[in-house]
């Protein structure tokens, strides 16, 4: 049990800067998810915490102790790898016991701890098998087991579920959440799957090109995305983003197609400023044909998903607009509709920097 502090950490590979100064203090027992697209530096950051990658700049502290120059073995962490990285020549039991044996823990206690972990993970029947005799899901559990028997200060996960099929992934996700609640061990979890991030995290660190775009609870990240990047990355289908301009009185956003959307609060200081307007597809509803505060769209495609339906619309100026409606509405392709954003559904972003405008 410990806090993990990452202070202005940087990483360069030669001239390439992969991590450009990340700051975060992870609370004791907190579950932090590192979320971002491929190549944004998630694994690099995690591996620096593990000690598998050198730290170019800044400091990492685990449990209040700066670990920059400690070997992985001295950091008291456990890690679950994407490819599980089990020891192929050892049985499941030995895989889990390896770290305990090295630490000189008495045989009886090793037995007890491994049995306990095997029970939790339902691996009891497989203790004498080799990893090659297990299914992907079972190997994944062994990797988890190897981490939990150690009772480390922190867990590190690098996309542990990405090699599993969809159903197993959901199941393991729930299991990881349950385990972490029960064990209360500080965890860093790398993924590019937003559903995993939203469901597992106490807080999410959204990364892009080696910087932290936003750090917040899953709801904060969803409801108040700090940048266009976060807005586009979280939510499915992604948020609609339209070019616009704040009118001369600072009371509404004007869109190129001539629509005028009233702002919840007047922003006189921003009058005339170009902005990006974000509206989530699920935060729009069909309005009366002649409603002035909405968008008139022509329906191009209807995707019925069962619980809800995604409507792909086209605005008069050719921009596309997605609307997600509950249930199975009676919308057809080539229909003309008026849709209006719900209260509080508008997100404004700076047209140049892409940062959220409060």
């Amino acid at each position: 049990m410990a806090t993990v502090e990452i202070r202005n950490v940087r990483k360069s590979y030669g001239p390439v800067e992969a991590i450009k100064g990340i700051d975060i203090a992870i609370q004791d027992g907190e579950f932090l998810v590192l979320l971002g697209p491929s190549g944004c530096g998630k694994s690099t950051l995690l591996r620096m915490v593990a000690g598998l990658e050198g730290i170019t700049g800044g400091e990492i502290a685990i449990g209040g102790r700066v670990v920059n120059h400690l070997d992985p073995k001295d950091r008291d962490i456990a890690m679950v790898f994407q490819n599980y990285a089990l020891y192929p020549h050892m049985t499941v039991f030995d895989n889990m016991a390896y770290g305990l044996k090295i630490r000189g823990i008495p045989k009886a206690e090793i037995r007890a701890r491994v049995d306990k972990a095997a029970n939790i993970l339902e691996l009891g029947r497989f203790l004498d098998r080799r990893p090659s005799q297990l299914s992907g899901g079972q190997r994944q559990r062994v990797a988890m087991g190897r981490a939990i028997v150690r009772e480390p200060a922190a867990f590190l996960f690098d996309e542990p579920l990405s090699n599993l099929d969809a159903k197993l992934r959901t199941q393991m996700r729930v299991e990881i959440k349950r385990l972490q609640d029960r064990l209360g061990i500080t965890s860093l979890y790398v993924t590019h799957d937003q559903v995993e991030a939203m469901t597992l995290a106490d807080r999410i660190l959204v990364m892009n090109h080696g910087v932290a775009e936003q750090i917040g609870t899953p709801l904060e990240v969803y409801q108040r995305p700090a940048s266009l990047f976060v807005a586009g990355f979280i939510g499915s289908p992604p948020m609609n983003v339209l070019d616009g301009r704040i009118d001369d009185r600072g009371e509404a956003v004007l869109l190129p197609g001539g629509q005028r959307l009233a702002l919840p609060q007047a922003r006189p200081t921003d009058a005339g400023r170009p902005v990006k307007l974000g509206i989530r597809p699920e935060h729009m509803a069909v309005a009366a044909q002649d409603f002035s505060g909405g968008f008139s769209i022509e329906v191009e495609l209807v995707e019925a998903l069962g619980a809800d339906t995604v409507v792909y619309g086209r605005l008069p100026d050719g921009e596309s607009l997605l609307v997600r409606m509950a249930g199975i509405p009676t919308v057809r392709e080539r229909d003309r509709l008026t849709v209006a954003p719900q209260d509080g559904a508008l997100h404004l972003f700076d047209a140049v920097t892409g940062r959220r405008m409060e």
Partner: protein, 294 residues
């Protein structure tokens, strides 16, 4: 499921196999059969008449105390060459596998000795260890050490062991390096996170995962030491001084070609063949059980 190739022409498969079969027949089965035939015959000095003598050649060979000495030399020589060549190659491969500067050049240099003919390699060693003209040999003498492998049997054996191992190190190195590179990096990382230092990682992870390679090289190196070191010994010491570096294979040549005792030499060949077959069988039976194939 296995894929089976079928041929329309029933003769074609035999035709395709024929060259391989022919090579095996001409260069292995025929001489081996010949050796077996000769090992139970006694020929006159001109090779005109021969007489069937049952196992007389064998009893003569095995009853000769000199032969047992040769056997002892062979065992020491083969074990030393195998252990030295494998140990050194493994050490070098581990170094080459870790991130060191100039790893590429280093790997290329290590592979070169394999491309040298045994006689050329032996001449090289002579230039180093010859007490009169060899650089190292002269240095040893200058330091007051009485180095002369032409007179001292122990020194001669040490030298041929070194020369023979040196040639085989390259071959072993390539296989060990490939084996090491096949071990997933994340497995080693997992072990270091689990608390294992470099030495423990080597003995508990690397070495067991390399065991198929090690086993294969063990068989190859034993066969090498028994048979293929003839050229090295011939060029360096001719089995001398005395019989200090005379191995079984060298003696086969000595008795058969130099001393013209074809029957005795053939009997020795047959014994040698049996020894190597037995060794290989034992290795497969007992060592392979401990080998982990992934």
């Amino acid at each position: 499921m296995q894929r089976r190739v079928t041929f329309d022409n029933r003769l074609l498969p035999y035709l395709l196999l024929a060259p391989q079969v022919a090579v095996t027949l001409v260069f292995f089965i025929w001489p081996a059969a010949n050796a077996i035939w000769q090992s139970v015959h006694l020929q006159d000095a001109f090779g005109i008449r021969s007489e069937f003598v049952w196992f007389e050649n064998f009893t003569n060979v095995l009853g000769d105390p000199n032969y047992l000495d040769t056997l002892k030399v062979t065992v020491v020589f083969s074990l030393a060459v195998t252990v030295l060549a494998m140990g050194l190659a493994l050490l070098l491969a581990v170094l080459a596998d870790s991130k060191i500067k100039g790893a590429r050049a280093y790997k290329t240099l290590l592979i070169w000795p394999y491309a040298l003919a045994p006689a050329v390699a032996a001449v090289l060693w002579m230039f180093i260890f010859n007490p009169d003209i060899g650089s190292f040999g002269r240095a040893l003498r200058a330091l007051g050490y009485d180095w002369d492998y032409r007179l001292n049997g122990g020194q001669a054996l040490t030298m041929v062991i070194m020369a023979a191992s040196w040639k085989q190190v390259s071959y072993n190195f390539i296989f060990f390096l490939a084996g090491l590179q096949a071990i997933p990096r994340s497995v080693m990382e997992a072990a270091s996170i689990d608390g294992a230092g470099p030495v423990r990682r080597f003995w508990t992870i690397t070495f067991p995962l390399l065991s198929p390679t090690t086993f294969f090289l063990l068989v190859v190196d034993m066969v090498y030491a028994f048979f293929e070191t003839f050229g090295t010994i011939h060029a360096l010491t001719q089995g001398g001084p005395g019989k200090a570096t005379e191995t079984l294979i060298f003696r086969v040549y000595q008795d058969g070609v130099v001393n013209n005792d074809l029957g005795g030499s053939s009997a020795q060949s047959v014994i040698l063949m049996v020894i190597v077959i037995a060794l290989t069988a034992v290795q497969f039976r007992f060592v392979e059980r401990k080998v982990h194939y992934s």
